[in-house]
Assembly symmetry: C2
Amino acid sequence: MEENETLETENSQEQLVAIVEEGKAEDIGEFLENMNSSELAFAMSRLSNDERTKVLTTVSAEDAADIIEQLTDAQAVDLLEQLPPDLAAGILDELPSADQADLIAELSDNNAEAVLAEMDPDEAANARQLIQYEADVAGGIMVKEYLAYPLDATVKMIVDDLCERGDEYRDYDIQYSYIVDRRKRVKGVLRMHDLLMAKRATPIQDIMIQNPVFVPDTMTLDELVEFFDQHHYLGVPVVDEKERLIGVVQQAAVHEAVAEQRDDDYLKTQGIVGGEEFRTMPLLRRSSRRLSWLSVNILLNIAAASVIAFFQDTLASVIALAVFLPIISDMSGCSGSQAVAVSMRELSLGLVRPTELLWVWVKEASVGIINGLVLGGLVAIAAVLWKGQPYLGLVVGVALCLNTVLAVSIGGLLPLVLKRFNTDPAIASGPILTTITDMCGFFLVLGMATLLLDKLI
Amino acid sequence: MEENETLETENSQEQLVAIVEEGKAEDIGEFLENMNSSELAFAMSRLSNDERTKVLTTVSAEDAADIIEQLTDAQAVDLLEQLPPDLAAGILDELPSADQADLIAELSDNNAEAVLAEMDPDEAANARQLIQYEADVAGGIMVKEYLAYPLDATVKMIVDDLCERGDEYRDYDIQYSYIVDRRKRVKGVLRMHDLLMAKRATPIQDIMIQNPVFVPDTMTLDELVEFFDQHHYLGVPVVDEKERLIGVVQQAAVHEAVAEQRDDDYLKTQGIVGGEEFRTMPLLRRSSRRLSWLSVNILLNIAAASVIAFFQDTLASVIALAVFLPIISDMSGCSGSQAVAVSMRELSLGLVRPTELLWVWVKEASVGIINGLVLGGLVAIAAVLWKGQPYLGLVVGVALCLNTVLAVSIGGLLPLVLKRFNTDPAIASGPILTTITDMCGFFLVLGMATLLLDKLI
């Protein structure tokens, strides 16, 4: 079954290459239309640069925009960078405003300027407005596609407009429309629902919901999540500092932004820090991005291991200790990671405040003492079974126990402290944690062994 | 600013306790209504068991349901477990069907049965239907709140129904309603939009969209994501094996389910495996859940370290090697984690098939060779600078280089292989990776050192 699927996909990819080589716009467009989005992303990612460019230059701008929408941002940006600015601009014109801005923001500055200059002036103006916002505030998440009507509109005017321009509004969220005054300030919200029940001549002011909720363009993603938790709306109007309507944030877009942030955090935690990596990217880019993270880590590792060097005489006398150093280093890392994960989760749910260091420490230390005793006990038993030396068991057991308490304490507190200092806990927690716990772990084992050296030999 | 916020929250929590002690339903209800959801979750989580129970038993079932909705599932289930079944049932009756099912599914079996017996029979029947589904298929994600009208309805009938029962439908997704035949098979979809433009007497069959899209109750979460990527709908009808309409999956619910899965994966990757942990949970539950993961890891660690024990004579002769063992273990872990993360991401985006082992291996090995040379070079330089022994540098440098290639190969391939064997890569990748890379790393360093022993002393 799985084998077949792969064969099929490989075939469809080969077919795509063949069709691209023939170069008929309709054939390529039709072929791509029959693929679902992950098949499409897969096939496009496996084409060569030239083939990819050929696909986008052969099909219509609208079809090309459909393709771009199915790809990840990282893939889409790579593709657009390779196209001449006028072609890229034509494709971008066909995308929803939020997607336009996301992609243009990631183009190189020169390229972005060239593309904006070639775009439809209205679309370009919208995009220029949107790219000024950070990706994690309302202004960066909102879309420019929304329906707004003046205060003096009637039900008939709006229904007529909806009927007439229904096609154009196809991709809009037309669950709500917004009623604005002359200065574009939001004065009311109209639900589709309400239009149904009203007579055609009714002035819109009679049926709209007065004093509607709106959010500032500077509202953060966390606040937006909170907002949609409380209000079961599908979208909310966004206003600038003069309370003028400038866009709409859709509930779905907020969910999507959160999911992207989580993906990003996961990648950072695992050491993929310079943006997304796909294996179809050039080798040197992949390798250098990973190295930028690894080279910091190796320096931290060498620094931590220098503690061992300091105690090499002790180690030479009791060589069995060398077996336990990596165990203590790894296990403290595991215990610490668990505490980091719980803090990250509690922070994101608002179940802990960044200032509650004492509360977190007490909660972590109590788990750390129990788990430290169990883990220390296990490693002590292993040491005694192997070497028959109770003092060796004592040293490694006590060291692991103490270091577990230390690891969960640091792991629990680090994300709170980093958050207070506005440092990204997803990137920094891991390396800081393991460096400290490694140093302390090595110091505890070898320090105690030095003190008890006559019992250990 | 932040200090103030904390003080405020602490105050509001104290206030809540005071109000709960007075025990007036209206006071508690009103107080809780003024909090946003994360404040509420925070305050509730910090109450004692008795206080929490008192809050839920004092306020109305509707208010209690509002509170429950703001909490995480883990918190809500803990709360419901503590209530008498009839009270829990009364609260569950007020929740949307999907939330009901999620919570009941996590109650202990006895408790779930007792609660279902006390619930409103219709609500209980819905819940019983929903809890039969896994959480990650359409049946487990759908809601039972949807609008369905018979094929012979007219526009007037539907508009009248909407106007009359608008309050009841407040929480429904009324962007679409579904038109069903006598056997409950979906024959059409009606957009609000279309009702606006139609005359009241129009038979619904004239304006509904014929042959609407629907999905089977067994459709997986991945397929649903794909579906909503392709179709920009806000919801899709779900049918059983006889094609009868049994629910609606909302786009927002799919996004939410994906976000939950990601959170879950993150927690598992970090070693929080037995379900969510909050620091307000009982100490022994937190400690034992973490230990279940740590105790597996310590056994794997001891197994890996036994390689060092095997070479202790070599180590005793060249004690400097002991400094490099933890470095090689940690760095290989870092390189491997990066490869795991890229594979997990590519798998989730469909950019790699679980069968493409060779392709992944070639891509990873090439990055591994470059990064291995750089990292091996760095550690070799560190060794030579410290000890002035070129052969020591050679041994640790070559070992780290080879082990980096091995680590990225295993890290890249593991998630694909685990996925093919239906094992959760988020849980299993980390421990398997580090155990193998530790063993091989130790073996490479100490094995080479043994071969070159006369050059190293």
